[in-house]
Each structure stands twice: as C-alpha cells, then as structure tokens.
Amino acid sequence: MNTATETFYEVMRRQGITRRSFIKYCSLTAAALGLGPSFVPKIAHAMETKPRTPVIWVHGLECTCCSESFIRSAHPLVKDVVLSMISLDYDDTLMASAGHQAEAALEDTIERYRGNYILAVEGNPPLNEDGMYCIVGGKPFVEQLRHAAKDAKAIISWGACASFGCVQAAKPNPTRATPVHKVITDKPIIKVPGCPPIAEVMTGVITYMLTFDRLPELDRTGRPKMFYSQRIHDKCYRRPHFDAGQFVEAWDDEGARRGYCLYKVGCKGPTTYNACSTVRWNEGVSFPIQSGHGCIGCSEDGFWDKGGFYDRLENIQAFGIEGNADQIGGYAAAGVTGAVALHAAVSALKRAQHKPETDTSGKEDA
C-alpha cells in the first residue's frame, strides 16, 4: 500500500466510514467553517482527490489539556474522521508504539512526507539550561521541535502554551518556557490559543487545513478569525445584566444567585477573543461564565501575568470603556458593541473569496 498517494476519502473508507457518513461529514465541515451548502461538493471533491496531509503531533512543556479537549470533540463523526487522519502518524499520547519504535515512526513520517506534513505542537520548549527542563527521547524538546519543523509545511500551535507560553511562562518563568513562533521563525504558524482550546475550534481548524490545504484567515496575532474575531463579552448571555448595571459583588450574594454579570469579580470577557460564549464547552453544554465564574482570558497573550484573576479590569482601556463598572450601567456600553452579527456573515463570505497569505503569518511576532 502506498500511503503517499492515498486520499482522505480512501483513508476514511479504510477506517470503516461509509459514503453516506462521508457526505454528512462534508456538510458538517462546511457548516462548522461558516460556508454555504454549495461548498459541500467542493469539500467532497477535494477529499476524494487530494492525497491526505499527514499530521505530526508533538508535546513539549504542557499538561496535555489540549489533547484532552481534542478527543472530546462534539460530533462523533468529525472526531472519528479527524482522529483516524492524525493517528496514522505520530502522536505520543495516544499512539500504540513506545520507545525507539515510536522515535522511528516519527523519523519515518518526516522522511516520507518531507515538506508535506503539518506539525501540530502542544506545549512549548523551555530554553534555560540548554533546554534540559524538557527532555524527549534523551534530547531537549527544542531539538525535536526544530528537527520536526524543518520539513513541515505549516505549524499549528495548539493552546496557550505553544501560542503564548501560558502559566509555565508566568513570572519569573523559571524554565524560560518560550512559545513556538519565537523558536521557529521561517514557517507559517497558526495559533489556536486557549487553556485548553475548545474541541470544536481545534477540529474546525485542522479540518479546514486538511481540506483546503491552506491556513484559514488569521488575525494580527496569528489566530484564525473564524473563531477568534469576537469577544466573550460580545455574545455573553449575561450581557444584558452588564448593560443594565447589575453585577455580582461577592460569590454568594443575591446577584450571584440571579446570574448577574461577573465583571466586578474579575471577569475578563470584555478583553478576551474566543468562541466560548457561542460554541461553549463539553459539547456545547456550558462555559465558565455559565457556571458562575468570570472568564480568565486564557486565549489572550500574557493572561497569566495581568494582575489577579479576581481583580476587575478597571484600568484597562483597550476595550473602549472610559468609566468603571460602577458607572457603566448608564453608558449602555455603546463602545463595546460592534457590528458583530453583520461581521460574522460578511467574514464567512470573505473567507470563501479570499485566499490567505500563508507564507507571512508565521513571521508576525518573531
């Protein structure tokens, strides 16, 4: 069997996925990516004719929460398909082999698909002490990362660790944990931050890349716009309470029981771009604000060092609020409301027309 020329469709059929399920998968993919029904046959055609893109998934300093999130993706079919696509190659949490056999599998994949595979990175390399705080196969992880990145087509930085550094990079950053784009500067990199990222966002991004063979459109910090163009606050179901000036003041007060806005107990929703308030978590069941706790802003760069998680955002001007929360009720928060709904519709259209520049995105923060 020559796996180099195998198409996605062939891989899926070999994994026992029926034609009917395949078409359903294509429709779901189109829907998840905000594309219209006319794109379904295009996606199907692409998957039937294109050789599958191999994925190598490596782990640095991390807590594996990204993998944990990923394997619970909402739609069983999407999960099956995506898992069957990536598990063929190299992932050291889930794969069958161990030890040198596993290392050989990695080398083999790099060799066979040189210049053609996607490198998915979970966690980040620590650079202090020559990288010895994270050793994989007897060598510093940073070496494995550089080695695997050298022949990769593109890189996905999963989660806050790979994208921005996350808590192990919090002051004083004892190991000098460093995000991927500061180490690899000559490849297109897409950042999918969050601690962890939402499962559906992860499968959405990887499906887009596997299907269309290019990066989705990115924002200025390298995040895919399709999932990171709105603030949590923009679509928060508690937003009316913010606008009405109704706030939780303490954990067990009447406001907490009534589900008022959590802004005053430290919610970072107004400055955090992510899909939590729309896609939600654990298969769309809930998200942190729905369980009565403010957002900590885990998809934003430096969220771990922006002051206490329970301090309110009073001095941050970035989101256009001039007064503090005690005055804000009267403002009706005009500055925060954007043309969000319109934007969502337009950007889906734009994505279809616009081919993103895949070769510049990785250099932005370098």
Partner: protein, 482 residues
C-alpha cells in the same frame, strides 16, 4: 552469568507526559530500575509572591487530565488557611465534580492507555489476541471508540457543574460557584445513568453492584467464569495469560488521604495500611528528599520545603522528581491503595502482600463500580436553592494543607501566606510518590522496586513487561514534577 546490560526505556507513550526509565538487565531480568521524569516547569516558583486566590487558576494547569484534583486541593488549602468551612451543599457538588473526573480518568487509563498493549504483535499467538485487536488496537479499536464516546458524554456533568473541563474555575474555598437547579439535577442523573449503561453493557457485562460485592480473588475468578463478554473479562483472561499478577510487586504500604469529603465524612477512608493493618495517618513525618533529584535544598516537610532546580544536573541525581517519604519509607498510592485503606475485601485479598500489575487495574475498576452508585445518590440529594458557597475573609497570614485523592492517588498542596501573598507553595502529587527516585539511603521508589525481576525478552529495547508494570501505576508525569 552474563554481564548486566543497560537499557533506556522510553519515551513512553500512552502515559500522561514524558517518562524515561533506565534499566539494568541481567539474565533476562531487570535487576535495577531508575525512573526519570524529564520535565520541569517550576509551578512552585511561579506561585511564590502571587495572590493566594490565583492558586485556583494556576495549579489546575499542572495537569490537563486531573485538573479538578489540583483545583480541589488548592481550594482546600486556601480554606484551611482562611479557617473557612465550605457550604455543605457546595461540598457535595465539589465531590460530584471530582468523582466524575476520577471516573473519566480510570476509564481513559483502562481503554486508551493500558489495554492497547495486549493488542501488540508480541501477543499475536495468544488465544485472546484477535479479540483484543478488535476492541483495543490503539486509536481505532471498537472498545477504544466506545470508551471515548462514553467519556465525552460523562463529562457533560463537568459542563453542567463546572463550566468547562479541563481546567474548571468553579471549585472555590467556600464551595462552588454554580448552584445547580432542578433541571441540572435531572440532566446529571440522566448522564450518570447513561454512563452506568455503558459500563454494564460493555465493560462489566453485568450489574456494577455485583462486581462491587466480590469478596476475594476466588470470587473474582468465579465472576469471570460465571459470565460472558465485557472488556473486564477480556482483561482478566489476558492478565492470566501473561502472568500480570506476578509482575510489578509494590512496597505493601498504602496511603490514602480519604476521597470525596462530604458533610458525612469521606466516601473512601483516610489512612495508612502497613503490615496488614490500617492505621491513622499522620503527615508529620512527611519529608521530601532530594539526594537523587536535580534539586537543591535539604530534605524538608512541604511547609518548609523549597523547589530550586539544580541547573548543573549533577550526579548522582537522575530525575527532576523529588523523593517523598513518610516516616522514612516509600508508600504506594492510587485507586487500589484507596480501596485497601478503605478495607474492601477484594482489594485486601489481592494486595495485602503488595500490589501487582493486575491488582492495580482491578482496583481501579472496583472503584468505578463502587463510585457510580454513590454519585447517583449524591445527585439525587442535590437541593436547589441551598447555599452552595460560603464567603471567606481574605487571608493575610496563615497556612493550610489541601489533601485530596486524585485518580492516581494522594495529592497534597501546602500553602503558606505572609502579608497577603503566597510565601511558599509546595505540591506533592501521586506520581511523585509512586515514581520517586531513590532517597539518600539509596532506597528505590515504588515503581523502581516494582520493576525489579520483570522479564526482558531477547531483542527487546522497551520490554513489554516493563510497559505493563509502568502503566499499571497510571503515571501522570506532568503532575509528578510540575
């Protein structure tokens, strides 16, 4: 006699995080083992100087698979420092959240991490191999898929009670931020019933209660022969075939901090089990040693401990992991340890002389069978409208310990607050106990001890027996060193 040869087994897959084990092999057997956790992030140093409440956000990120346990330990340590007793209903909700995570972890370990080893080509001649391949081939076996699906469904409870998982924010020193309503209660109950359905159909192939009532190894064998199908019977058959019960003998000292604190006390007892008897547990004699760790500093109790890495990585140290000892001795922790300390007759019969690789797996499933009915009962008892949170005053000076049971065993957080900031924060995780390196006296840690005698077949570089033993502990390397 042949000369000993040295193998470096690793990196291990299907364990949480990175792990490397150095083996001295002689006459086809492991003579000595050295466990290395090759990953250090420095959480204790990051926590120093921060607002104590920030520990609730930072410590869960030690681990993506047992983040609730970290969360619960941090909340407990803070509550102790504040002198705050959580709201009773909040305790039950937190116990439910924690119990669900531990269930999910046990299932993940069984179906995704442990069973796939039996589907390897090394066992192609065994009568059960074809069934293993169909159910547990890594990533695509029907049993693997069923487990992933059941687990994702089960974790809806996390969504309902905890907002998101991994890394919830809902557990606080005074209780939980989410007060479940009547609708939530029904949804949680339905989810647990569905999970029970999966377990009774695919894993136990029979009622959970029947398994939870088994009284000894003999009864376990009758249970296996008395029924048809189920992944657990398949496991027991394979375990017998490869002699899993003869592999991985641990130190015969078990410790549990007591699992799931509720207003009525813990579901599984707290204590120490040594020389065939349970004793009250005192942690005054707990010391973390650093003789074989790449850490500076002197042996100390966690309240006075430090975590300063030795950048030189000087010999004879070989791991970032410290070596915790209780009254100078190693202890084994985990689901089996909890069941032994709790006095369950099956666990006592299987492990009183020391745990083995098979007993550890059975211990986990025994705990699953005992936990699900309790979680159902707790859910039914949830009372909407009760206070789920008690308010605490900010702490400026004080200290407190947060002791909980993660899926993998005893987890402790020790917090010291001075002038309103964290002055010291030390964490001793379950795998720190089980995978500790040697201490100053050269006494090996539990897994290092358990590996001695494991057979090594000619040509094996990461011996399959070694993999069985290592995975039987369900190591979580990201927690170990943090």
């Amino acid at each position: 006699m042949s000369d000993p040869t040295r193998l470096v087994a690793g990196p291990f897959n299907r364990v949480e995080g990175d792990l490397e084990i150095r083996l001295d092999v002689e006459d086809g057997q492991v003579r000595a083992a050295y466990a290395n956790s090759p990953l250090f992030r420095g959480f204790e140093r990051i926590l120093a100087g921060k607002d104590p409440r920030d520990a609730l956000t930072i410590t869960p990120r030690i681990c993506g698979i047992c983040s609730i346990s970290q969360s619960a330990a941090a909340a407990r340590a803070l509550a102790a420092a504040q002198g705050l007793a959580p709201a009773e209903a909040g305790l039950t909700a937190a116990a439910l959240i924690h119990g669900v995570e531990n269930l999910a972890d046990h299932l993940t370990h069984f179906a995704l991490f442990f069973m796939p080893d039996f589907a390897k080509p090394a066992y192609a001649e065994e009568p059960w191999h074809a069934r293993m391949l169909e159910r547990f081939a890594a990533g695509r076996g029907s049993g693997v898929r069923a487990a992933l699906e059941a687990r994702a469904q089960l974790l809806h409870v996390m969504g309902i009670l905890a907002g998101k998982w991994p890394h919830t924010l809902a557990i606080q020193p005074g209780g939980v931020t989410k007060a479940p309503d009547a609708r939530d209660r029904v949804r949680i109950l339905a989810t647990l019933r569905a999970f029970r359905g999966y377990l009774e159909r695919e894993v136990f192939a029979g009622p959970l209660e029947a398994f939870a009532e088994l009284s000894d190894g003999q009864a376990l064998e009758s249970w296996r022969r008395g029924g048809q199908g189920g992944d657990l019977r398949l496991f027991l058959e394979a375990a017998q075939g490869v002699g899993l019960a003869q592999l991985g003998r641990g130190p015969a000292r078990f410790m549990s901090y007591g699992a799931y604190e509720t207003a009525d006390g813990p579901l599984f007892a707290r204590g120490l089990f040594v020389k065939g008897r349970r004793r009250a547990l005192s942690l005054d004699g707990l010391v973390e040693e650093t003789a074989h760790s790449w850490m500076l500093g002197v042996p100390a109790h966690p309240y006075g401990g430090s975590t300063v890495p030795d950048g030189e990585m000087a010999e004879p140290a070989y791991s970032w992991c410290k070596a915790p000892r209780l009254d100078g001795q190693t202890v084994e922790v985990g689901a089996l340890a909890r069941q032994v300390v709790d006095g369950h007759p099956l666990a006592l019969d299987l492990a009183a002389e020391g745990a083995d690789a098979r007993a550890r797996v059975v211990g986990r499933l025994l705990e699953v069978a005992r936990s699900v009915p309790t979680l159902e009962a707790w859910t039914a008892a949830l009372k909407p409208g009760e206070p789920y949170m008690r308010r605490g005053a900010p702490v400026s000076e004080g200290r407190g310990a947060g002791l909980v049971e993660a899926a993998r065993g005893a987890l402790g957080h020790w917090l010291v607050v001075e002038r309103g900031r964290i002055a010291n924060y030390q964490i001793v995780a379950p795998t720190t106990w089980n995978f500790s390196p040697r201490d100053a006296a050269g006494v090996p840690g539990p897994v290092e001890q358990a590996l001695v005698g494991a057979p090594v077949r000619p040509g094996e570089t990461t011996p399959i027996a070694v993999q069985h033993v290592v995975r039987s502990f369900d190591p979580c390397m990201v927690c170990t060193v943090h």
